[in-house]
């Protein structure tokens, strides 16, 4: 498989371990990629608050760049996935709007015909690689590890733009991945809720309540770690967990929040350093120890 690779701003900024671990597992899986270095930020739904059309134009430009290469886009971020899917949905169902957007792209010699698809690494693993083939690359069975899924809003809503009807497996993709590495799913109601990141700078008290509720509840239910396809959720749930847990629950940050490629990297036998697990704010030592002690896959 080959993709036009769109890592997103945060994987190249505040969560560099996501970029590094994604490249490591993609190489192991033989996934080819060409990075879209000219592409702009998706706007993350924030830029769209000021100018929705501007956001759509930026994203359609990215779709056109991938279309020129004849490749589907791969992203590493729930928010990139959601914002791009929504933009694609809007222009594909409204040819007049697409023509209007294309008018702006013409100066750069670009035109989007509407053929680009966008897939998060998580979806690509299940839909394009297949869990059976993925499992062949695993060297460890992560039995005894309880993991709580945390999707990130943009990866689950609106389900129409994310094409859940045509791809029903997307609704349980994280659970499937956790089970594929031999782990046990810690199910909890907050898994499709908001992490609080979008209001971190606007209403921090509410944001901290969300962080403390989600990480605290998952921990209370026996989770050893939380797994998320969204680096923005990671930044809040990991980076602000010490403050949130102290402020809201009066306890300590004790739930590592790992990225999707870090989870499968652990099952592939990759080291803590390769996966950047030492870069987390909440210690990942215990899950690294558990993974290293896990039985070899037969």
């Amino acid at each position: 498989m080959k993709y036009a690779f769109y890592p997103g701003c945060v994987a190249r900024g505040g969560a560099p371990e996501l970029y590094d671990s994604a490249l490591a597992v993609m190489e192991r899986l033989g996934i080819e990629h060409v990075e879209l270095t000219k592409a702009a930020c998706t706007g993350a739904g924030v830029l769209q608050e000021k100018n929705l059309k501007m956001g759509d134009i930026l994203n359609v430009r990215t779709f056109a760049l991938a279309e020129q290469m004849g490749l589907p886009i791969m992203v590493l971020c729930s928010t990139c996935q959601g914002v791009m899917s929504q933009a694609n949905h809007r222009v594909k169902r409204d040819p007049e709007y697409l023509a209007e957007v294309n008018k702006h792209l013409a100066a750069e010699g670009l035109e989007y015909k509407g053929t680009t698809s966008i897939k998060h690494l998580l979806w690509a693993l299940i839909e394009d690689i297949g869990l059976d083939k993925l499992k062949e690359t695993f060297t460890r069975e992560l039995t005894g590890m309880n993991m709580a899924p945390f999707y990130g809003c943009y990866m689950v809503r609106p389900s129409e733009a994310l094409e859940f009807k045509a791809n029903p497996e997307r609704e349980t993709s994280l659970e499937q991945l956790i089970e594929s590495v031999g782990g046990t799913v810690t199910d909890f109601a907050g898994k499709t809720a908001c992490c609080g990141f979008p209001i971190l700078f606007i209403n921090q008290a509410n944001s901290m309540k969300m962080v403390a509720n989600h990480t605290g509840t998952a921990k209370d239910l026996g989770a050893h770690a939380m797994v998320t396809p969204c680096p923005l959720c990671h930044l809040n749930l990991d980076g602000y967990q010490p403050k949130a847990r102290k402020q809201v629950r009066g306890d300590k940050a004790d739930l590592p929040v790992i990225h999707v490629p870090q989870l499968i990297g652990l099952a592939m036998g990759m080291s803590e350093k390769t996966l950047g697990l030492q870069k987390h704010i909440v210690s990942t030592k215990e899950i690294v120890r558990m993974a290293e002690a896990a039985p070899a896959k037969v």
Partner: protein, 318 residues
């Protein structure tokens, strides 16, 4: 078809505040809705089950409740769609609202939020004769919000209301949007300013899209909230962290093609807001020690000037 329902019960008189789950296995017609099944339980199995319903045609907005954890109008939800293979359904009262009994919630929370936005027209003038003629286009624009049947599903599943009862909520904001967009209303700017300045107003929405997903009538409250923000900014309301956050994001992408995370954090806090800046410091230091502080000099995308030209071509239009 055989269906299994697991219903959350609450009896304020007998249970001393405790709730319990009760399971019912019944045989219903294959075309049944969840509401049909609940009515069958009440009429044939257990007359003590309390619920609210009226029109059975998704017009009255009475039968909002949670099915498998998500708010729905149960008269609009067919059993074969939610339990195609006879799976057990869990039915609970709506969230974020006071439960009176079993599946019935009080409407007080919902309407106290709606009242906060003064949901009535404040006309600029009353024609001396005849009627005020509004253009067809301006009225069609209001259809999304006017479709609201006040069922409370969006309020039930709002992730902000879960942690903050003071948030005005998605239904009230969608209703407010309707009046700011009505050409007959004379207080558009005042309404925008009030919702911009108010604690628990338009900027407290997290954009989680739960309300868009659960609304049975296509109101898409969050989309209306985004339009309120855009209108509030355009009307000159620049005194919020929300505004600074959006503005910084917009300009960062214009300049670099990419997001400058460090600058975004500082801009949002406000460069003269010393307590907020000091609050950011420990997080920044912890991130730096772990080697994951965003770069101080922003990454730029290749040929980022083309992004700037695009901005200019869009901005030149308005």
């Amino acid at each position: 078809m055989l269906v299994k329902l697991k219903i959350k019960r609450f009896d304020p008189a007998d249970s001393g505040g405790k709730t319990w789950w009760q399971e019912y296995d019944i045989d219903v017609h294959p075309d049944s809705t969840v509401l049909d099944s609940l009515i069958q339980i009440r009429e044939q199995e257990d007359g003590t089950l309390a619920m609210r319903c009226a029109c059975r045609a998704s017009i009255c907005g009475s039968c909002g409740m949670r099915v498998n954890g998500s708010a729905k109008l149960v008269c609009k939800t067919r059993m074969v769609d939610v339990a195609p293979n006879g799976e057990q359904l869990t039915i609970e009262p709506m969230g974020n609202q006071h439960v009176i009994r079993d599946l019935v919630v009080s409407l007080d929370t919902f309407f106290s939020q709606i009242k906060r936005v003064e949901p009535f027209l404040k006309p600029s003038f009353v024609p001396e004769q005849g009627e005020y003629i509004a253009s067809n286009k301006s009225m069609e624009n209001l259809l999304t919000s006017m479709n609201c049947i006040m069922c409370g599903c969006c309020v039930s599943d709002c992730t902000v209301l879960e942690v903050d009862a003071n948030f005005i909520g998605p239904a009230a904001l969608a209703k407010a949007w309707r009046f700011t967009e009505d050409p007959r209303d004379s207080e558009r700017d005042e309404r925008l300013k009030a919702l911009n300045d108010e604690d628990g107003g338009m900027w407290d929405c997290t954009r989680c899209m739960k309300c868009v997903e659960v609304c049975p009538k296509g109101v898409a409250p969050m989309d209306r909230i985004m339009e309120l923000r855009e209108a509030a900014i355009a009307a000159g309301n620049t005194n919020t962290s929300g505004y600074r956050h959006t503005e910084s994001f917009y300009n960062s992408v214009k300049k670099n093609g990419r997001l400058d995370e460090t600058r975004l954090a500082l801009d949002s806090a406000g460069w003269t807001n010393i307590p907020r800046l000091l609050d950011l410091a420990p997080i920044g230091i912890a991130a730096m020690r772990k080697g994951k502080l965003p770069p101080l000099m922003p990454h730029k995308s290749d040929e980022h000037k083309n992004v700037k030209y695009l901005y200019e071509s869009v901005e030149g239009e308005s």
